[in-house]
């Protein structure tokens, strides 16, 4: 009986076992761990409580102050400073100050710090994003990160695997974001509980990395432990380019694929050629329905950015829709590139100019309003269309505000129309 890609990566990192099966508890060696300005201060406090003089490996830890930077208040500034001081004291290279900082799940792959075959944990639920590289990556808590920084290990329960098979050629304006919102609507917000989502099919073979990251990013929104896509030529091209450009300490990686006789808890097939862009209504990411079903939903704010859809191809797509258009007078447009490299590309390619000429804003990289942090908080009763990943009660501001999740083209079209709109309507 064979293993899935998730099981193979876990087995190769597990301590003291020769075989594994779903529901087994294992202690596993990690290749990389990460935390941010919200979660890492607790990890640092817990780590210091152990009284250890060294971290397990100075090059395998990243501390990214992406949530509240540029610091929104004194307390947030203090939290970022806690990370910076800890990194300096323990010789951790991967602390990213404002100016090179980006949203962690876009920044770390871009820098070649996370590689195919890795076992990655992060004190951030969207750590599952990195599964797009063919790595096992999962979100954990701050105490887990403290333990990992000290010992390079994590305890894990081996997940079962749900295989998602996407077939066909998507229509224009249908992106990876729509494919994953469609699956979350099918599975429900806890349909992937204690499961890996293995994302496969010819529709995925044709997706570039940006869209693959968007898909794995939202595995957690189906309650899954990780999302994962087997590495192929597209993955290797991306990874080799990142290594060439940034020269990370690790340059070799391992291509892992599922066995032909691997065992799956469930297999779901989706024909993407029939799909329309999907919009998920408040207050659950599983409320996805075709965009055409939303009639006259007035929109006060559009947010384009985040670890889900703040990458170059996302901004390019939004700029295509907004080129020569104006944002509706009743609507605000907030565009936030996920990293400095993406920011630079948006400037040099003219996307930034398009957003500004349309009457929108173009901001510095940050998680910003996605989690209701800053840079675009919603007032009572306000409605937003966002390319982010969650639309829970109060997520982007007031408990009585409303977030609809969409792809960047739908978000841009909605900014122009002032209501939820299909890009083809423009």
């Amino acid at each position: 009986m064979g293993y899935t890609i998730t099981e193979k990566i876990l087995l190769s990192h597990a301590k003291g076992v020769k075989k594994i099966a779903p529901k087994d508890f294992i202690m596993a060696n990690i290749d990389f761990c990460l935390g941010n300005d919200i979660t890492a201060p607790i990890s640092i406090r817990e780590f210091r409580g152990l009284g250890r003089k060294k971290v397990f490996n100075q090059k395998r830890i990243a501390l990214v102050p992406d949530h509240f930077l540029p610091a929104k208040d004194v307390q947030s500034a203090n939290q970022a400073l806690t990370l910076k001081k800890f990194a300096a004291e323990f010789g951790i290279d991967n602390y990213f100050e404002l100016g090179e900082m980006g949203v962690e799940h876009a920044l770390l792959p871009e820098r070649g710090l996370i590689l195919p075959g890795d076992l990655v944990i992060g004190a951030d639920s969207h750590t599952c994003t990195h599964g797009a590289l063919g790595a096992f990556a999962t979100g954990v808590g701050s105490t887990d990160l403290a333990f990992a920084m000290a010992f390079g290990e994590v305890w894990l329960k081996v997940p079962g695997t749900i295989k998602l098979v996407y077939k066909g050629k998507p229509k224009k304006w249908v992106t990876g974001k729509d494919l994953i919102l469609h699956a979350i609507a099918d599975l429900g917000v806890d349909g992937g509980h204690e499961m890996a989502l293995e994302i496969t099919g010819d529709a995925i073979d044709n997706l570039q990395m940006d869209e693959r990251f968007s898909m794995c990013n939202m595995a957690i929104e189906a309650g899954a432990k990780n999302g994962i896509i087997a590495p192929d030529k597209i993955t290797e091209r991306y990874v080799k380019e990142a290594i060439r450009r940034y020269k990370p300490p690790r340059k070799s990686y391992k291509i892992v694929k599922s066995d032909a006789d691997a065992v799956y808890a469930d297999v779901r097939e989706y024909n993407v050629s029939k799909l329309e862009p999907v919009v998920a209504a408040p207050h659950l990411p599983s409320n996805g329905r075709p965009v055409s079903e939303y009639k006259d939903v007035r929109v006060n704010q559009v947010v384009i950015g985040s670890c889900t859809n703040g990458r170059s191809s996302d901004l390019k797509l939004a700029a295509q829709v907004l080129k020569g258009k104006k944002v509706n007078p009743g609507t605000r447009l907030v565009v936030i590139p996920a990293t400095q490299a993406i920011y630079k590309e948006a400037v040099s390619e003219g996307y930034a100019e398009t957003f500004i000429n349309a009457g929108g804003t173009f901001c510095t990289p940050s998680c910003g309003p996605c989690l209701g942090g800053h840079m675009g908080i919603l007032a009572e009763g306000e409605v937003a269309v966002a390319t982010t990943n969650r639309n829970f009660v109060g997520r982007m501001g007031h408990p009585k505000s409303y977030v609809y999740l969409s792809n960047p083209a739908v978000a841009a079209a909605s900014a122009v129309k002032g209501k939820i709109a299909h890009p083809a309507e423009l």
């Binding site: 919200i38 607790i42 152990l50 509240f68 333990f147 010992f151 509980h193 309650g223």
Partner: protein, 162 residues
């Protein structure tokens, strides 16, 4: 250990943004987080609750972000344990790692707002005070029991690595 406390009932998919909204995440001090515990699910929760009370949730309790601030806020508020039909994965491990008692049990369905619940934490037995009907909770695997008995993951780490 035996716990007895008044039930505060919540529905399915209670998420970490409701348990401790992100606007309060510019601190990690437990007592400060506790002041806003459950605020976006029930704005008056902290006025209604007393230390020792019990939170009862539905399915997928604690879904959403990885913020450990969520179980920390609940623990620091003085809630003795959380009972739910199921817990989201990261909340589940965070609760174990920081020593907040959690029980996965069908009792979560039948316990109602204002009930008094009794929990035998060693046996994993739950019942409504004054009722004979007894519910069992999912027993933690040995591995997890060791972490919990040590008082959380870091205490377990300190013991193992000395």
């Amino acid at each position: 250990m035996k716990l007895k406390g008044k039930v505060h009932k919540f529905g399915d998919n209670i998420n970490t943004d409701e348990i401790i909204p992100a606007r309060y995440l510019n601190t990690s001090v437990p007592s400060e987080l506790a002041q806003h515990c459950m605020e976006d699910a029930d704005a008056d929760f902290m006025k209604k609750m007393k230390p020792g009370d019990i939170i009862v949730g539905g399915k997928n309790f604690g879904c959403g972000s990885s913020r450990e601030h969520a179980p920390i806020a609940i623990k620091a508020a003085g809630i003795s344990c959380v009972i739910a039909e199921s817990f989201s994965r990261i909340f589940y491990r965070n609760a174990i790692n920081i020593g907040l008692l959690i029980f996965t049990s069908p009792a979560a369905k039948d316990l109602l707002k204002g009930d008094v619940a009794e929990v035998d934490t060693d046996k994993g037995e739950i019942r409504k005070a004054g009722s004979k009907k007894q519910y069992s909770a999912e027993i933690f695997p040995r591995f997890i029991q060791d972490i919990m008995k040590s008082g959380g993951l870091m205490a377990y780490a300190a013991k193992r690595r000395k």
